[in-house]
């Protein structure tokens, strides 16, 4: 049987690791990619059975929801902001949101906080894009929203793909498009 979770996590890992290594991307986008790369790498280790560290994978997935997706949203919605465009403020945002995640989700067990953060981030991308008539980012928002919904509602579109696979795939496609979109906007600015 195909280990779909390991494979889709591996795909996400490749896309995000590539994004994290691109010096031309915005710091917020690179940091978001880096966080998701770690989470998906731990997912590969976990689901392939090579070196399962499930609690660490869950922890970084939580950081992905509470820090990486909001960073991604900020990079798309307001690329000129301090958080999106400076390493310093991207890290401050990450540390602050990560601290909230540790306190609320890891320690207090309120998972709703990370779920809500991810959903709000994705909705921000979508709504902003619709208002601005930005087709590419609207598509990105929609893909990410479908991924989150598939996870929340446990959708299974194709027999061998689980709902988490759809989340991994939507994140991979969404982030890939965001990077392309970011390249386009960088080129058009220069």
């Amino acid at each position: 049987m195909i280990n779909s979770l390991a494979m889709t996590d591996a795909l996400l890992c490749v896309v995000t690791a590539w994004g994290a290594s691109r010096a031309s991307l915005q710091p917020a986008l690179r940091l978001a990619c880096g966080l998701l790369a770690i989470a998906s790498f731990l997912g590969v280790l976990r689901f392939s059975g090579v070196y399962p560290l499930p609690s660490l994978h869950l922890f970084f997935s939580m950081l992905g929801a509470i820090s990486a997706l909001p960073l991604l949203a900020i990079a798309v919605v307001n690329p000129a902001s301090q958080v999106a465009s400076t390493v310093r403020f991207a890290w401050i945002f990450f540390v602050a949101s990560g601290a909230v995640g540790v306190l609320c989700v890891s320690l207090a067990g309120i998972r709703l906080v990370s779920d809500a953060a991810a959903l709000i981030a994705v909705l921000c991308i979508l709504i902003f894009s619709l208002f601005k008539h930005a087709a590419i980012s609207a598509v990105i928002g929609l893909i990410l929203l479908l991924g989150l919904l598939s996870m929340a509602l446990k959708w299974q579109v194709v027999g061998f793909l689980q709902s988490a696979d759809l989340l991994h795939l939507s994140l991979a496609v969404g982030i890939f498009l965001t990077m392309r979109f970011s390249f386009l906007s960088t080129r058009s600015n220069t």
Partner: protein, 354 residues
Amino acid sequence: MSPIVFAIPVFLLAMVLELWLARRRGLQVYRTADAVTSLHLGIMSQFVGSITRVMALGIYAAMVDKVGAFTWDEKNPATWVFALLLYDFLYYWYHRAGHEVHLLWAAHVVHHSSEDYNLSTALRQTSSGFLFGWVFYLPMALLGIPFKVFVIVGLVDLLYQFWVHTELVGRLGWMDRVFVTPSNHRVHHGQNDYCIDKNYGGILIVWDRLFGTFAPEREGEKILYGVRKPLLSWNPIWGNLMTYRDILKTAWVTKGWRNKGMAVFAGPGWQSNERPQHAEFQPERFQRFDVSAADQASRGLQAISLAGMLAATTALLYFLITTQGMTQTERMLYVTVMILVLAALSKLWKRAST
């Protein structure tokens, strides 16, 4: 029992030794009001820490339990060496953030508020570090470094930093290149232009060399200690709250959300258009905050101040020894009373100088 109980007499003896050595060399490195204030702040941080430490250490312990990825052999020396190196590395970033992010600077500024540089300055510690410090050490919890190892290497890192707060030890050759030494750390406490945001290391100065924040001490340029927005008070409560109040005030009057955010998260040097605070630093015009000449001459006042400080130290030792047997309410009451006593003792100088 807290190891601090054993460290306190050693600290006090070391300060007496430093004072004696300085006198023999004809140097004046201590001023009573400043040193007593440093000790008051240290005593207060221990009292407050006895309550708040539960939070920071509790978070660490819980995170090791929930997320800790690996198991470590506590009997293996390599575990301890690795943990100490990692702790020192994380301390570097915590310390650096403490200088370069205004909100974190508000917690750390207390330690830099002395305009003298002696062993008492090492004890001038914050009481609000628990609010943010724990975040920076989470990577150790994620790796599963055992709680006991974390606490002990943290203590080693902290205790190491005591001896570097002195003007009596000069350059130390190769040690200055690898370790944090008095020479390196004097630069860190200076407010001269070349000293700002330099030498953040705890034990190893190597981190500063790696991340571009190292500056060697300059021959022939006298270091002026302290901060560019001076505390101007002997009150330990005010010492801990002043910068928080400043940030709140600036954020409140500053226009625009972006600028309000900058007031909180930018570096301490960031200027608000609505509330500019920093005049250009002019070393030649710098004057240390001090008590009046009459107070300096008053042996009685100095004796009372020292006696008060020693009584507070004794009360701290008693508290640390007996705290296990106290209820939380008793503990809170004791701590509250002692903070008020320390604030009252600081009024000795203020009243005498006005």
